[in-house]
C-alpha cells in the first residue's frame, strides 16, 4: 500500500506542475477566462472580449502539491515495520 501511494503522490505533483507550466506558468490567481483583444478597423478602437479558458494559478499548484505531500505522508503509515525474530538463538 505504501508504494502505490508514493507513486500516486509523485504523479499528482508532476501532473499539476506540468499542467501549470504548459498553460503558461501563471503567477496569479486561477483564471477561467482570458481577455482577447481585437481592433475595430473603422474606429481604431481596441475591443476586449473574454474567451472561456482555464488557466491554473499558484493556488492550483499549491493545492496539488499539498495533496501530493499528504499522500506521500500517508504512505509512511502503511510502511511495513521491521520485525526481529525473538526465536533466533543469541550467540
Amino acid at each position: 500500500m505504501s508504494k502505490p501511494l508514493s507513486i500516486l503522490a509523485l504523479m499528482l505533483a508532476l501532473a499539476a506542475a506540468d499542467i501549470w507550466l504548459v498553460t503558461g506558468g501563471n503567477g496569479c490567481w486561477t483564471k477561467t477566462s482570458v481577455p482577447v483583444k481585437t481592433v475595430d478597423e473603422i474606429t481604431g478602437l481596441e475591443a476586449v472580449n473574454y474567451e472561456r479558458r482555464f488557466v491554473p494559478g499558484l493556488e492550483f499548484l499549491g493545492a496539488a502539491l499539498l495533496g501530493a505531500s499528504l499522500l506521500a505522508g500517508g504512505s509512511f503509515l502503511f510502511c511495513k515495520k521491521q520485525t526481529t525474530n525473538s526465536n533466533t538463538p543469541k550467540p
Binding site: T32, T43, A47, V48, Y50
Partner: protein, 204 residues
C-alpha cells in the same frame, strides 16, 4: 434673377444650418467594441478587468465641440475579471453591490481647454460620475474623433451617417465611492485607473 438669388441663399443657409446642427450619437454597441478597462495596482496584488455593456447618448457639434453634452451608462454587472471568485467579490455588497446599484453613469457638465485639429478634438471634460449610489464631480481629459460618413463602412452599408469615437484615461479613488472601504491598500489599491474607449453612431 433676384428671386433666384434669394431662393439659393435661403437653401444655402438652411443647408449650412442643417450641417452645423448638433448631432445625437447613440452609443449602443451591436458590435461589442465599446469598453471600459479598469486597473488597480496594489503592492501585493493587481486587479485588471473590463466592462462592455455600455450605452448612452452624446450630443456633439463638430463646429462647437465645447457645447458637447451627454450621458454614458455602464451596466455594473458587465464588469468582468478573469478569476471567478474575484468577480463574485467585485459584484458583491462590499464592492459594487451590482444587485442594488445596477448602473455606473457619467453625465457631462462642461468642457474646457477645447482644441480641434482636423477631425480630432481634445478637451477636459467635467461631469458627474455615479458609482454605487455616490455621485461625485470629476474632470478627465477626453479625445473626440469625428468620423464623418463612416457609419456606412461600419454597418456594411446598412446605415449611413457619422461616427463619434471617444477615448479617455483618468483615475478615481476607490475610497471616494465607498468601494470595499475596509480593504487594505497593500492588497487593493485606492487608485482605480480607467480607460474608456467607445464609439457612437448618428444615422441619417
Amino acid at each position: 434673377m433676384t428671386k433666384h438669388f434669394i431662393i439659393l441663399l435661403t437653401l444655402t443657409t438652411l443647408a449650412s444650418a442643417a450641417l452645423a446642427a448638433p448631432q445625437s450619437f447613440d452609443f449602443k454597441d451591436p458590435k461589442g467594441v465599446n469598453n471600459a478597462v479598469f486597473k488597480l495596482d496594489a503592492p501585493l496584488e493587481a486587479i485588471n478587468g473590463s466592462a462592455n455593456a455600455i450605452r448612452g447618448t452624446v450630443t456633439f457639434d463638430s463646429t462647437i465641440p465645447a457645447a458637447t453634452k451627454g450621458k454614458i451608462v455602464v451596466a455594473a454587472a458587465s464588469l468582468h475579471v478573469p478569476n471567478p471568485m474575484m468577480k463574485d467579490h467585485l459584484h458583491g455588497e462590499q464592492w459594487l453591490d451590482v444587485a442594488k446599484h445596477q448602473e455606473i453613469t457619467f453625465e457631462v457638465i462642461s468642457l474646457s481647454n477645447v482644441k480641434t485639429t482636423g477631425d480630432s478634438t481634445t478637451a477636459d471634460v467635467t461631469g458627474t460620475l455615479s458609482i454605487k449610489g455616490v455621485a461625485k464631480q470629476v474632470s478627465a481629459p477626453v479625445k473626440f474623433s469625428y468620423l464623418k460618413d463612416k457609419l456606412g463602412a461600419r454597418s456594411n452599408g446598412q446605415m449611413q451617417g457619422d461616427l463619434l469615437v471617444i477615448r479617455s484615461n483618468f483615475a478615481i479613488k476607490r475610497s471616494d465611492f465607498r468601494i470595499n472601504p475596509s480593504a487594505s491598500e497593500d492588497k487593493v489599491a485606492d487608485t482605480i485607473e480607467l480607460t474608456l474607449s467607445i464609439a457612437g453612431a448618428a444615422p441619417r
